[in-house]
């Protein structure tokens, strides 16, 4: 490996484009280099959040064409199972625990149909914004203390959150930091109660709660 810190290798690794020899060399380097490890982690998080669209390039040895029909069947089966499991709560129903915490579980808002491929929103998404129409899990929206949150990849995200606005971001990791912050800013408590991963915009700051 000519330059172990080469960002090109990290990027290629993320897309599954390294051969076995290169991957072995990069793994050995990453196990020792904290900086490259951190860079890889940042990229993986961004890719997972959809900010870096990873091409669907076949990994070496993977015969994509052979598996496409099976993949299509699996996708359809998964979609069918998912539809069966996602059913909005009846109107007006709240769980006792929700009522006690002040969380109201409202039925999901009526959403527009997914945009057609030819529309601007159907084109490659801007990598610097989260497009709720693309990422929102149907049926997963909550209104808490005057704010609306949507469940995106396991994280409750304030509908007012927009990375493009450049608001300062405060990461709150673990129970200690969480309780310390909430003791100083108790108004955040209802939002933090949504779950382990919450993003909320409050008084000009984005707070990201993490486990």
């Amino acid at each position: 490996m000519s330059n172990p810190h080469d960002p090109g290798l990290l990027a290629a690794s993320l897309e599954g484009r390294l051969d076995a020899r290169e991957r072995e060399a990069l793994t050995a380097h990453l196990a020792e280099c904290a900086e490259c490890r951190q860079a890889l982690a940042l990229l993986a998080r961004a890719a997972h959040a959809g900010l870096i669209p990873l091409p669907t390039a076949a990994r070496p040895g993977f015969a994509l064409r052979r598996w496409l029909p099976l993949a299509a069947v699996l996708v359809m089966a998964l979609a069918a199972v998912t539809r069966l499991n996602w059913s909005p709560a009846p109107i007006g129903e709240t769980r006792p625990s929700d009522a006690a915490s002040g969380v109201s579980v409202s039925p999901p808002p009526i959403e527009a149909a997914p945009p057609p491929a030819s529309s601007p929103r159907g084109a490659e998404p801007r990598a610097d914004t989260l497009d709720p129409a693309v990422l929102v899990t149907r049926g997963a929206a909550r209104r808490v203390a005057g704010k609306t949150f949507r469940l995106v990849a396991g994280e409750w995200i304030d509908a007012r959150f927009d990375p493009a606005t450049g608001l300062p971001i405060t990461d709150v990791k673990g129970p200690d930091q969480r309780s310390s912050l909430l003791s100083r800013v108790p108004a955040l408590a209802p939002y933090a109660a949504l779950g382990e991963r919450v993003v909320v915009v409050f008084e000009g700051t984005v707070y990201r709660f993490r486990p």
């Binding site: 810190h5 960002p7 090109g8 290798l9 990027a11 290629a12 993320l14 897309e15 599954g16 484009r17 051969d19 020899r21 290169e22 072995e24 793994t27 050995a28 990453l30 196990a31 900086e35 490890r37 951190q38 860079a39 890889l40 982690a41 940042l42 990229l43 993986a44 998080r45 961004a46 997972h48 900010l51 870096i52 669209p53 990873l54 091409p55 801007r126 990598a127 610097d128 914004t129 997963a140 469940l151 990849a153 396991g154 994280e155 409750w156 990375p163 450049g166 300062p168 971001i169 405060t170 990461d171 709150v172 990791k173 310390s180 912050l181 779950g195 382990e196 991963r197 993490r210 486990p211």
Partner: protein, 279 residues
């Protein structure tokens, strides 16, 4: 074995099929560059095999930028400029984010760093890696993470002020840290990387699947095995050095003070605790 003219013809055919030649950089010159990249790459592949794996249109755009073609740069900025700026804002607050983004863009164009892109990934992914490194360097230089009030910057926990240091606890902690480091050295590179990505970098299993490949279930099993091996190794060394088990040794240590920030492993949390949160 193919002759060079045959290789060149094949690469030219690839260029014709995958690249829209829209700048002054012509297909023939571009194909020559590809052949150079191919010959310099892995000896296990022919130049053509190497070129087939590249993102050719992205590489064509980057090559035109590297040659100073302004129309290419305009296209590059139009397609990726917002991404570079937005990506920097993931890590830094303003104005540091804009500073980093501006510097990255200036380096790519004015210092011709675009020539370093070799098409082994999509251009956007490569730009993401560039911005990530630049942002990390900016953090080190300026510490412009927005810390919590009263807390230090960065992802690592800091020493907590409060009661005076207990000398015996400090010695135990240093010993324990040494044991953990030694045990980590005994892991394979694959297992060590999994442990560090999960516990040091806080990646979820889904994120790790993107970082290193593989399925979530497979990674969970491998992580669990690696953690068990690590704990067994620490325990064995602890008994050998002190006559105490690792459990006893760590009972008196505030795990949050460990420099390695691996308290979660040693605190008995399971690998499965970190999963994509579901409500």
């Amino acid at each position: 074995m193919q002759t060079r003219p045959e290789q060149r013809d094949r690469v030219l055919a690839l260029v014709a099929s995958q690249v829209r030649v829209r700048f002054a950089l012509d297909a023939s010159t571009f194909a020559e560059r590809l052949l150079e990249l191919g010959r310099a790459a892995s000896p296990d592949r022919t130049p053509e095999e190497h070129v087939r794996r590249l993102s050719l249109d992205d590489l064509y755009l980057a090559s035109a930028c590297a040659q100073g073609e302004e129309s290419a740069w305009e296209e590059c900025l139009a397609r990726h400029g917002d991404f570079v700026r937005g990506f920097a804002r993931r890590f830094l607050r303003e104005p540091a984010a804009s500073d980093v983004a501006d510097q990255v863009i200036a380096d790519l164009w004015e210092r011709r760093k675009m020539a370093r892109y070799e098409g082994r990934s999509a251009l956007r992914t490569w730009l993401g890696a560039i911005v990530a490194h630049a942002a990390m360097n900016a953090v080190k230089a300026d510490r412009r993470w927005l810390p919590l009030e009263g807390e230090g910057p960065g992802p690592r926990r800091q020493e907590r002020s409060g009661s005076p240091p207990d000398v015996a606890a400090t010695e135990d902690r240093s010993l324990f840290e040494g044991l953990v480091r030694k045990a980590m050295e005994g892991l394979s590179a694959d297992d060590k990387l999994l442990i560090l990505l999960h516990y040091e970098q806080d990646l979820t299993l889904d994120e790790m699947a993107i970082a290193v490949g593989g399925s979530k279930a497979g990674l969970s099993r491998r992580l669990k095995r690696a953690r068990e091996q690590l704990l067994a190794s620490i325990d064995s060394m602890a008994r050998s050095r002190t006559g105490l088990s690792a459990e006893t040794l760590r009972a008196g240590i505030d795990l949050r003070r460990l420099q390695l920030d691996l308290g979660t492993i040693l605190g008995g949390a399971t690998a499965e605790r970190k999963h994509d949160g579901t409500v």
